[in-house]
Structure formats: structure tokens, C-alpha cells
Symmetry: D2
Subunit: 319 residues, 4 copies
């Protein structure tokens, strides 16, 4: 089977419609995240998918225009901002290895003296947030993140969902523990509550599949925003962020996602998954029900079907 | 920079010669593995590299014809054989996630009741060896592995280095501990010494960069041996083995290798590294000096330079 | 050698004087705790020891009247207060086993879902503090603890050292991490900062060897204050607190202390050690220099010498 | 309540009879060890208890003359023999701290480079066995252990139960793993199978409550065999072995046993528990049903009742 070209937008639309149809008929839909009311009450029956080719118009199906909480997918954008700001020196404070532990484990952190294993587990993302606060307030950092997402999505309506952020702030004891622990180890500089204020607000940004696919597209396009030609990251940095998504983007199931789907991905407990198809497109699928590892159950299945239909696995062609 | 085509073999030869020249001048060469005399006495000054394109002749430079101990790279071939034999049921006995721990750690194994995290850490490869013994003796299994390597490399001279195997067998206390531990947990069926006899002999197979590049080439070619058209694994299984190499192939530095090189790889403490460039080629670099994580120091550098020169990262083009 | 009777106060005085003399001549004195200035600047040359027999007057030597920061020894008194208040239900929230890990380790806590191993490691003492806050404010709890110490020592001058408490509060990131972590697991009810305000103030109580020996004496006297006949704890509870001191009172060196000294003990990073000789006396030795495990180096030696001279080991007579 | 004197043998006999009567009526009896047939088929309804005062005749009740497998209680005698042989140098190869982990955990061992936490967990006892093999064969070591037990019990009939030993040897994968692991770390000198042959045979010694109480009595008597006056260990060493029993003698429930009973103890999965009452007596209770931590459920209860009736807790008198 030849690899499906994004220029064949008619066939791609068929593929997405077919996936959305099949997903709609599935009874096993996972469980929505329970730790805050704003996530716990989201309708399980929703599903959306959007493809943003680097060289063509958006293609989407299902609830691809519905806003959802991007949660940990925001870690891709905060990492991008931090790399723009401090470059490679970031890697003195956070590692680049898969963690082999649940995403909020404190054990690894203790064992390795406050240096989180990678920027996509919670403690790593908290360090990235702390880096952003080196030369701005947490309000400014939130605005810079929103500005980046709005610019890439060409959509100025993107906002933080304040009620989600407040709930996160109220219930965030485990992330507080992680932050204080890293402060004890000397790896956190700003006051813990400032860092968490940024962290919880970035997680509470609400975006649709379509917006998010556009926002991630620069990673498929050698670091450039295809819409404007502007360089977001150097080609090398874009590849490296993509590599980190592959290795560490799906919590404790990153290996499973690589095995089944074969695309670099970042998931969030809001039910979204952003995948990069290098040189081809950025794709977002969303359905709020999660599997046991915290990744969207149906969005994962959607990506398996997408790769089967398109041949887009980075690990090789289908025949 | 456009991606370098393998049909431009003249340019590829230049790239390899240039890499070999630069490597020859490097003074920091790592340290050879010390645990057995046969590895400890290997000459640090050696370096070889070979590319086996899926659609063209071998290209190589340096000591690409010199035999070395393939060690953990053998795990790719034993996994291939086990998948041929038992298929997906293998995954009931070994996981598919990066381990986040050193390659011979027993901690994870205890935590997860004797199910190794993946088939490329030592305990996982011991389970794979045990699977092979389900319907053959350890002598037969060694012969089947040699037959597979010989067929793929089109070279009947490939053999186990008996003195390496004997040294491994004598000093293998930690692998013995792992095997007995998994037997205690009910995840090892054959007698421990039989399993280790196979395991240590597979690690002691001696091959050159050229032989090994040919042997791994089916993984870049949708599971088929390009020389014969024979199917070694289905396209899907080949992609999945390649994904496992990406996620778990470089011990506790798999993330670092993905970050720096961006190719699926399997390394061995003999100093070899096998990389797959899906749809393009299989590449082996070898230099016996290891870094602190047990991967060849100079072979890793060689792959960074190769990807820089060719644009072969699976995480995206260079510009 | 017969066991030395406390009624032979002349001989006991000789023993203490002899110990103080020998300690004075020792050049290896350990290192003072460095994490707050108030402890880091304490004079290493100080040493005091005081015995409070259950049936006789105080006997002391050296700097036995000098105030020092009782630190973790306060955990004995907060536990006593909590047992008075809630009784055996305390054990639903904290365990009774030695931890096998450094005193502020968060690993065990994660493994065991927020239930600290025992009330003498930091997270366990934080839970005990939280229990005290169930029916009083943190100011009231501090006052109750001071009242208990003053009553038992018959000395109303005992106070919290406010500057120590403030320093602890400022630098207590690791204890904050522990508290937030336990809150995340549902095992902490009061606001973290309230609990820590109590915890850091109880650790900052300043007492002398003489005061502290009197304060701990009820544990040697079947739970009764020998001075007044008042019951502090039932005889069974007093034995159990003493058993906990034996098993868990010297951080990660409790086994070593049992092995070398053979008395139930609780140490603090201020350099004090409180030992119980059941049915005979309570003894406190103090010298600010700590060993690598955080116990006073010279106070430990003093207890070895005391037991050698008196035959007071609970593990048997000397001949 | 005054402490009960062993000279009041009439009252002591009443106490034991009363305990045996109550135990006989208990319906919750624990579960026998399941890992070998010889233990799995032992009758749950048996219970025996025997007191060996240091200054008087044996007092016993129930099935105190029935042989059972002493299992881990043998670790007390192998430690005694090793201390006789190599003295304090033993402590370079095994620690003296409670483990905080299940008795056969390999995690701690990996973390601490092959040095077991104490001689009463399995890996620690395997090291002690290896020490015994420094100057004798495993057959000789078994004979020396039997000779020690026979001498102390004044009973030449004590033997290894060969069928238990064979079953242990066949099913001992986890202990094999521990031994190979320590060999990998350089802390085991003799061949693994030799060490295990000794270890499994020592665990398979069959003794009755009465024999075992006599055998342990020297620990209550400052290291001397009261029957002969012979010195088994120095008074200091006897106290230290007793201290180790207190801290580490009941697997992962040593703290609980100290808390509830207050006596130094060593338990075995055969259902026996040996307790030392320093200066007074040695006591053994036995009932084959185990609790979740691997200690005899009813023997533990028997000791709680015994201490309640006699006031023998080392942590203080009853009133």
C-alpha cells in the first residue's frame, strides 16, 4: 500500500469520516478524568479528529471544532517557549529519558535528586514552567503561551478556562508535593505557588482539535509555521521535541503507543492526543474517555486506524 | 537540505569516509567492556560503518569487515525468531515499555512480578530465549539463530565465538539471578542453565558491520529480505520491532539516542549499534569503546554525523 | 557485673563524670546540622548528660543545664498527646514498622499510599501533628505540648525558640512536599501550613538534658509521672511508645543503636538523645555534632559507655 | 502487677495451660505455608508452648513435644556459629538494620550493592551460610549446626528433615536468585548450590518447642548454657544477637511484634516463634498457621497473653 498523500484531500476526508463513524459505534469509551468536576462532567460520547497538513487546508470530522481542556498537551508549547528562551541550558534541569513510572511519580525524583526524567512528566513540566518564570511573571507567561497558540492556530479566541484552572489549583496537592520536593533539592527557583499558577493555567487552555492540529503543525514542518514561514524552533530543535514526544509523550504507555501507532504523540487527560507525522501533517484526535494509563481510549484507536489507512507510521511503510 | 538518496552511492561513500576519518582522529574513545577478558582486550582504535540500502549494494568504511561480538544486538534476531514462532502471545510474558532503569536491573522485575518491561533488557531477552526453547533444544535454537543471520547476510561463515560464550557463562551471575527470579515468579519454563546457554551463545555471535547491516535490513524493508523477497516478518511486525528498538534499544540512554540521532537502534556492549532507516536502509557502526550507559561512544557519534549529513532522522527533515 | 542501682547515686555520679571527662577529650565530634543558621552555629564542644531515676533525684554532668533544640525528640511528646486524645485510632493513619529508609524519604510514602511507616519519621510526625489539630488550633497545640513538657519537667520556663521555628518554616521544602503528598493521598486534613506551623514549632522547643530527662521519665515508670503520681499514659501505652523508640527512634540507624547500646531511644538533629531504661530511669545525653545518619556522634558514644558501666541494656545483663 | 518469677513454676504452668486452652478454642488459625507439600499438609490444629527458665526446669503445655520445621529460627543458630568463627568481621558482609521490606526482597539488595540489611532476612542468612563455608564443607556445617542444637537442647535426636530439605532445594528459585545476585556483587564466595544446600538443610531442622526453648536459652543467660556453664557467646555478643532479634526477627512485622509483645523474637514459616526474656527465660510457641506477614498467627497471640500474664515485656512493667 502506498503512503497516502495529503494532497489527496478527498480520500483523507473519507478516511476521517470512516474513523468517526466507527468510533461513534463503539460502546467501550473509557472513563473521563474524575479529579475535578469540570472534567468529570464532560460528555463521553464526543469524538473529533483534525488533520493539518503542512501543505494544505485542514481536514476534519466529528466534534473537531469543540473546545476541550488540552491539559498535558500544553507541555509541548511550554517546552517550545522555554527552548526559545534558554535553549540547550534547559537540559541541565530536566532529563530526556522515558520515566518508566506513572506520570506523577515522586520516587524517580527522589532517586535522581530533583531532576525530572523528561519535560513531559508532571515534575518536568513544572521545571519548564519555572524556567519560563525566570524573566516574566506567571500572568505574562500565560499570555505568552496563549499568544503562541493563537499565532500558530491563527485564532485569537483561544483562552484559559478559568474554572478548570481554579479547580486544578484547589486539588493540586500532588503537584504541590512535587514542586516543594524539587525546591528542597534546589531545582526550583520561583515560589511554588507562582509556578503552579502558571502550570495549572497552561493545562486549562481550551482548544479544539482543529486549533490544536494547527498549533502543533510547525513540528511536522521543520520548526516553521507553514502559514507564515516564521521559524518557531530550528529544524533540529523541532526534531528533538518530536523525539521527546515519541519517547515520553503518552505517560507510562509511550512504548505501547509507539508499538501500536508508530507516531510521536502527546496526550492529555482532557482526552486529546496530538500526533506529528514528520514532513506531512499534524493530527489531533479527541474523545474524553481515558484508558487506565490516562490516555484517551478512543483517540488512541482512531490513530491506529488512521495509520492503517494512510501508512503514516514513522517506523516504515505497510508493505 | 534534501534527504540523501541511497541511489547516490558516490555521495554516501564520501559521507562514510568522512565520518571514518573524523572518528579516527578522536582521542576520547570510551572504555571497552571489562567483565570478560575476550571483550576487555579488544583494540579501542577500531571503527567501522556499513550501510545496507534496501535497494542497492553495501557501502562501507573503516573496519567494516572486522568481526566483533554482537552481544545485545542479537536480541533483535531472537525476538524475530520468537515472533515467527509464537506471534503476539509473546506479549503475555514480556512488556513493551522502556524500563527507565539500567538494563540489568532486578528492581523493576520484582515490582512487576517477573514480567520484564521489554524484550531488549536482559531479563526480557532471557524470556525470549525461554520462548524459543518451547519447541527446540538450546543447541537447535542457536543453530536457528545462526541460520537466520546467515540467510539474511548471505554469509555462511557466521559463528558463535565459543571462548566469549564460555566466559559469559562463567561470569553471568547477574543474569542467573534474573533468570532464577523470573522462574520463582512463574515466568520461566525451561531449566535456567539451558536458557542461559542459549542466551550467552546468542550474545557471543561474531559478525562484521557489513554482515550485521545486511542481517537487519529486512526491518527497513517492511519485513522482507530485499535480496530474496522472502518475508521474515509481516510489515506490521517489522514496524513494531523497529518501534521497540526506538523506545528501548539503547539501554538507559534510549531517550538520549532518540534525541540526538533520531533513528531506531539496538546497541551491544561489544560496541556495535544497528540502526534502521525505515524504507531506506539498515546501518551498523562499530567501535569497541563504551560510554557510561554501555553504548559505543564513537558509534553514537558516527550516527549523529550520518544523520546530519543525510537528513535520515525519522523525526523530520533538516529544513 | 551486677546491674547498677539508681539508689547508688554516688557511683552513678562518678560514672557520668567519667563519661563527661572522656567525651571532652575526643577530637572526632561529628558535624552540626547545617540546614538552618541557628543549628549550624552551635558550639561543637558542648556535651551534657542527665539521669532522671524513677525513684530518686536527678544526676547529671557536663552541660546538662544548657538549652538545646530538641527537634525530633519532640515527636515522643506529640505522640503522647495524640494517644491521650484519640487513642488506638491513631494507628489507622500511621504505621508501627521501622522504615528502612532515611527519615525524610518520600519513596516509602508513595509505595504505601500516604501512610507513613511510623510516627517517628518526619511524615509520621506530620500526621501526628495533624491529629492534634483535629480539635484545636496550631497555637493551642503548641501550648498543650509546652504544658506537657513543663508539667513533666516541673519547669515553667520551657519555650519554643522562635528564631529556630522561623528558620525551619522558611527552609522546610521537603517537609512541605511530604505534607502535600499525604494530603494528595487523603491522609492529611488540616491545611498544610497549619500543620507545619505546629510541627516546626514543636521541633524548636528548647530544653536542657535535665529538663528532657524529667520529661521522658514517665515512659520508664509505667506511664506515670513519678513526681506527682499522675497517669500520663496507661502502662501498656507507655510500653508501646517505648517499643516504637526502640524500633524507629534513631532514624535509619535504629538497628545500629539497638545493637551497640541496647536501649530504646529517640534522637534529634539538635544533638540530643533521650533513652528509656524501663523501670529504672530516663536518660538524656547531648552533644551537637551529628554522625552521617543524623544522630549525635558523642551522645551515642556516651550511651555505649553508660550501658557498659551500668549493665542497663534491655537485652540482658553483662555476665 | 509484679513480674512473675520463674521460680513460681506452679503459677507459670497455670499460665501456659490457660493459654493453650484459649488457643485451642480459637477458630481463626492462619494459613500454613504453601510453597512445599511437607509444610502445606501440617495440621492447623496443633499448638505448643514451652518455657526454659535460665534457673529452673522446663515448663510446657499443648503440643510442646511435637517436632516442627524450625525454618528461619535456624538463622539464630547459624549466626551464633558464624560469630564464634569470624567474630565482628561478619559485619562487613551483612548489615544490622531492619529491612523495611518483605523478607526476601531483592530491591534492597540491589540498592545496597549486595550487602543484605541484616542476618535474619533470607539474603543475610545466605551470607551467614557462606561465611560458615569458609573453612568447612556444607555437610560439615550442617553437622556443626546440629551439634550446637543438640548440645544446647541436651538431645542427640535432633535431625534435618531430609524430605523438607529436598523440597526446599527444588523450589528455591527466589533464594537462588538472591544468591546469584550477591555473587554478582562480589559478596558470595562459595558455589551457590553449596551455600543453598547448607541453607535449605539448616531451615529443615526439625525440633519441638521444648528442644528449641532449651537451644535458645543461652541468649537469655548472658551467652552461657545454664545447663553446663559453657560459654556459647560472650555476654555482649548474646545481647547483640538478641537486639537483632528484636529489630529484625519477625520479617516485615518486627515493629508490630515489638509493639504488641515487647520481646525479642525470631519466627519461622514452620509456625514457630522463639522469644528471649533477658535474664529470665527462653520461650517457644508454635502453631503452623501463619498471618499475612509469615509469622505464626496463634503463637503471636500466645506471646501477647504470656506477657500480659507475666509482665515480661522488656519495655517496662505493667503498672
Amino acid at each position: 500500500m502506498p503512503i497516502l498523500k495529503t494532497t489527496d484531500s478527498e480520500r483523507l476526508q473519507e478516511v476521517l469520516d470512516d474513523i468517526a463513524d466507527r468510533i461513534a459505534g463503539m460502546s467501550e469509551r473509557g472513563k473521563v478524568a474524575q479529579y475535578i468536576p469540570e472534567l468529570a462532567t464532560v460528555d463521553l460520547n464526543q469524538f473529533g479528529i483534525a488533520i493539518a497538513p503542512i501543505d494544505g487546508p485542514l481536514i476534519s470530522a466529528g466534534d473537531a471544532g469543540t473546545l476541550f481542556s488540552i491539559q498535558s498537551i500544553s507541555k509541548v508549547f511550554s517546552l517550545t517557549l522555554a527552548l526559545q528562551q534558554v535553549g540547550a541550558s534547559l537540559w541541565q534541569r530536566v532529563g530526556r529519558e522515558p520515566s518508566g513510572d506513572p506520570f506523577n511519580s515522586i520516587v524517580q525524583l527522589e532517586h535522581e535528586r530533583g531532576i525530572p526524567r523528561n519535560p513531559f512528566i508532571n515534575p518536568g513540566a513544572i521545571i519548564v514552567a519555572d524556567v519560563l518564570l525566570e524573566d516574566r511573571s506567571s500572568d505574562e507567561a500565560v499570555n505568552d503561551l496563549l499568544a503562541l497558540c493563537r499565532e500558530l492556530s491563527d485564532d485569537n479566541s483561544i483562552e484559559v478556562d478559568a474554572s478548570v484552572a481554579e479547580s486544578e489549583m484547589r486539588t493540586g496537592s500532588r503537584n504541590r508535593a512535587l514542586a516543594h520536593f524539587m525546591q528542597a533539592e534546589g531545582n526550583l527557583n520561583a515560589p511554588v505557588e507562582d509556578v503552579l499558577s502558571l502550570y495549572f493555567r497552561q493545562c486549562s487552555i481550551a482548544m479544539s482539535c482543529e486549533q490544536l492540529a494547527l498549533a502543533g503543525r510547525f513540528l511536522a514542518a521543520a520548526g516553521q509555521n507553514p502559514a507564515t514561514g516564521a521559524t518557531v524552533l530550528s529544524a533540529q530543535r523541532a526534531r528533538r521535541v518530536t523525539a521527546l514526544m515519541m519517547m515520553c509523550g503518552s505517560y507510562d504507555a509511550s512504548g505501547e503507543f509507539a508499538f501500536r501507532v508508530g507516531l510521536p504523540a502527546k496526550s492529555g487527560v482532557g482526552g486529546g492526543i496530538l500526533c506529528i507525522v514528520p514532513g506531512i501533517a499534524s493530527v489531533v484526535a479527541w474523545s474524553p474517555g481515558l484508558d487506565q494509563k490516562g490516555n484517551s481510549h478512543l483517540a488512541s484507536i482512531a490513530f491506529q486506524e488512521l495509520v492503517r489507512a494512510t501508512g503514516w507510521s514513522i517506523f516504515g511503510p505497510s508493505t
